[in-house]
């Protein structure tokens, strides 16, 4: 997924309050303005801003960048920063230079711990008012999928009868944008108005459009559009889509999409809007499990595998990975799995353990031209998925699943998994007591862990901001952000740290302590802890045959 990202120049930091200059091509101001919502928050006063420099960053660099501005650069940069309805005014970000050594991996964990004040994080819950957040998100985001000829395919308000108020309301705007987009034939992928970012993904004959007011960058929105496009492919496959539009530009693709597909797209857009960190960081969540149990489940899956099993997965509710079975020659793509798990657990709602599902699915990142068949069986809410290229081998896979599950039960594996799910992962488990929440991604495993008891929806804007403040071109990048006067208590502030190295990414949020040094130490603790327990936290080897 990361390979597909459109990189944006994010070195430049605009002056607070600087407003983007609109690109000329897609401008259709009167119509666009209909899409905007009035800014919900009045900008903070400049006096309230606090810059929090990070070790080793030279402010001179920032100044130099500013002198080198060319129009594209301004444009890109503003794309990146200009769209937050409340961000460019109340936050400041300083990134480290790529050469900066942030910490030495040999740091003694005990030393690190000593540096951290042994104080529990104050309860941040008051600061994150869920309802308020939800209210803010309402209408703050919209997705449209349409054909190149402008025929609606999907919007978030689509229903099974294709009543589509959003398309009706926005039709003029969308057509204008799309035609100017197509006429210019262009490299334009995104533009931004005062509060809103528009991002397009042109996968002719399909065009996808994201409209966001919550401060996501172009590349993040592009990833989300790619996910939706991949979902369409997963249902139809590429040749099916191409054939549908062959010699019939005006074809209505909704004829080929049913309730299940709309429901699937709705679920994905809901996951995006409610904030699924896995979609942001391009990784799968995994569950913590004793190494011996993970190894045992691995060897059972390997031993009981029948000849037509191409892939196998053991997945907990919410798409949390427990184990993977795969041939040596093939890897699995995160996006394909995110879509598969989303479909499987959507189906799980009304299927019980004595049912077995047989789902045709196109893994578009694996091969967009063909279908695979997924056998799905639920055991204690955990899904055992076996995938084959042969549509006729349902009963073979069904037998295989029975043997696997029998062995799982014999070795108490389901019990251990359920215990792990029950306990979840808490910040208490980790020697970084001041941290309210964190996301740790192991790049090697393309998996992430985070505390499971917190509702991450309320943390979305902080994580988005942290994520987009990272310099993805740098080998190592650290970003520290402080939000002042957040929440109800005027004394409280929230701080976050994003830290990306060649092997991992860690993002953390804290409420009580906002000193940069402390956060860096906490980040170190998290990294050390995750590394030390990586065999428990991640599916490291998987069952490779």
């Amino acid at each position: 997924m990361e390979d597909d990202r459109i990189s944006i120049d994010s070195d430049y930091i605009p002056e607070p309050g600087y407003r983007p200059q609109m690109p000329k091509r897609p401008q259709k101001k009167p119509s666009l303005s209909q899409l905007m919502v009035t800014r919900s928050k009045s900008p903070l006063k400049l006096a309230e801003l606090q810059a929090q420099p990070t070790t080793g960053v030279s402010m001179e660099n920032v100044g130099q960048e500013e002198n080198e501005l060319d129009t594209d650069r301004i444009y890109n940069t503003l794309n990146h920063y200009g769209s937050y309805h409340d961000s460019s005014n109340d936050q400041s970000t300083i990134r480290t230079t790529p050469t900066l050594t942030v910490y030495s991996e040999d740091d003694d964990l005990a030393n690190t711990l000593g540096e951290i004040i042994s104080q529990r994080s104050t309860d941040l819950k008051d600061n994150f008012d869920h309802e308020e957040q939800q209210e803010k998100l309402k209408g703050a985001k919209q997705f449209f999928i349409l054909s190149a000829a402008g025929k609606p395919i999907y919007s978030m308000s689509s229903d099974a009868d294709h009543n589509d108020d959003d398309f009706v309301n926005y039709n003029g705007i969308i057509q204008t944008i799309v035609s100017s987009f197509l006429v210019s034939g262009s490299s334009l992928k995104s533009f931004v108005t005062e509060s809103t970012r528009f991002t397009f993904l042109n996968q002719s004959p399909i065009i996808l459009l994201a409209i966001s007011k919550i401060g996501e960058s172009e590349s993040e929105l592009m990833n989300q559009l790619d996910l939706l496009y991949s979902f369409l492919l997963s249902a139809l496959s590429k040749p099916h889509i191409m054939r549908s539009f062959e010699n019939k530009e005006g074809f209505d693709l909704r004829k080929h999409l049913g309730r299940a597909d709309l429901s699937g797209l709705n679920l994905l857009t809901k996951e995006i809007i409610d904030f699924n960190p896995g979609l942001l960081v391009g990784a799968l969540q995994s569950i913590k499990l004793k190494k011996s149990i993970r190894d045992k489940s691995r060897s059972i899956m390997l031993n009981k595998r029948s000849k037509n099993v191409l892939y196998g997965m053991l997945v907990a509710p919410g798409g949390k990975l427990i184990n993977v079975l795969r041939p040596k020659s093939h890897t699995l793509h995160t996006t394909d799995l995110q879509i598969l798990f989303s479909i499987v657990f959507n189906q799980a709602k009304n299927h019980s353990e004595d049912e077995e599902l047989w789902l045709p699915i196109c893994f578009s990142k694996f091969n967009p031209n063909g279908f695979l068949y997924a056998f799905v069986k639920f055991v204690d809410q955990v899904a055992l998925i076996l995938i084959s290229a042969d549509r006729n081998c349902f009963f073979e896979l069904s037998e295989t699943s029975k043997k696997i599950i029998e062995d799982f039960k014999k070795h108490q594996i389901m019990k251990q998994i359920n215990e792990s799910l029950h306990h979840g992962l808490s910040t208490i488990d980790i020697p970084a007591p001041l941290i309210y929440h964190f996301i740790y991604k192991s790049k090697k495993h393309l998996q992430y862990v985070m505390p499971t008891s917190t509702n991450v929806t309320t943390l979305q804007r902080y994580y988005l901001r942290l994520y987009s403040s990272i310099d993805r071109d740098a080998k190592i990048s650290v970003s520290f952000i402080k939000w002042d006067n957040e929440g109800k208590d005027s004394n409280s502030s929230i701080a976050g740290l994003g830290w990306v190295s060649p092997n991992y990414e860690v993002y953390l949020i804290t409420g009580s302590i906002t000193k940069r040094e402390v956060l860096v130490n906490s980040a170190k603790s998290i990294v050390n802890w995750c590394k030390r327990y990586q065999e428990r936290l991640f599916v490291c080897e998987g069952a490779v045959f």
Binding site: K255, G258, R259, N350, E355, E356, F394
Partner: protein, 239 residues
């Protein structure tokens, strides 16, 4: 179960010390056991497939039959789901259905032969409040008659009779079609449960039971826990 209750009787009679009753019970117990293992007890297994337009309620019909439950907000089926249910047709006959509940969506149509290929029975479902769904049901019927097993038992089921006020398909029209084509016909409601069991019972009654016994016995080795006993299998195998 019967043996347990008899044992309980036996114990209580013991306390009263009434030996003649115990002897009587023992005789009765032996008689029941003998009946249970009689060669007339039969077990058969059939493959059944549900077909029909999207959203007519195929999965709801199956779930009412298998779990006796109904969910107003059911997700649309993707691909197909496989379920089994065993029914007691009469005192001596047990039928196990292996059910393919298929997705109604048009684009899965090409996969349908995979599910009806070896089916002994099919339920073609339409929605009495959607006229188009009967047309789709007719098309499925034709396809089955053309491509499925020659002796497949087909039932036409009009679902959602609980929505009588929204009815678009008069019962007579569907019934006439069914009788012309030699189909079983039912109007049912998965929501209320009305008529659901009858579909499966009538299908079971119409299926050629004897011819199914031998091959299914072998296929079904050691899977079905609800089978009456191990003895009667051998017996009916030879019958």
């Amino acid at each position: 179960m019967s043996s347990n209750s008899i044992r309980q009787h036996t114990n209580s009679e013991f306390k009263r010390g009434n030996k003649s009753i115990i002897t009587e019970i023992q005789t009765e117990y032996n008689r029941i056991m003998a009946t249970n293992t009689s060669p007339e007890t039969r077990f058969a297994q059939f493959k059944l497939v549900l077909l029909g337009e999207s959203a007519v309620g195929k999965s709801s019909v199956v779930h009412r039959f298998v779990k006796d439950s109904f969910d107003d907000f059911r997700e649309s089926t993707i691909g197909a789901a496989f379920l089994t249910q065993t029914i007691q047709l009469d005192d001596t006959t047990t039928i196990k259905f292996e059910i393919w509940d298929t997705a109604g969506q048009e684009r899965y149509k090409s996969l349908a032969p995979m599910y009806y290929r070896n089916a002994n029975a099919a339920i073609v479902v339409y929605d009495i409040t959607q006229e188009s769904s009967l047309e789709r049901a007719k098309a499925w019927t034709k396809e089955l008659q053309r491509q499925a097993n020659q002796d497949i038992v087909i039932a036409l089921a009009g679902n959602k009779v609980d929505l009588e006020s929204q009815r678009q398909v008069p019962k007579e029209i569907a019934e006439t079609f069914a009788s012309e084509e030699g189909l079983l016909f039912f109007e049912v409601s998965a929501k209320s449960g009305e008529g659901i069991k009858e579909i499966f019972t009538k299908i079971a009654e119409k299926l050629p039971l004897e011819s199914q016994l031998k091959p299914n016995r072998l296929q079904n080795k050691g899977v079905d826990l609800q089978r009456p006993s191990t003895n009667n299998q051998k017996n009916s195998c030879c019958s």
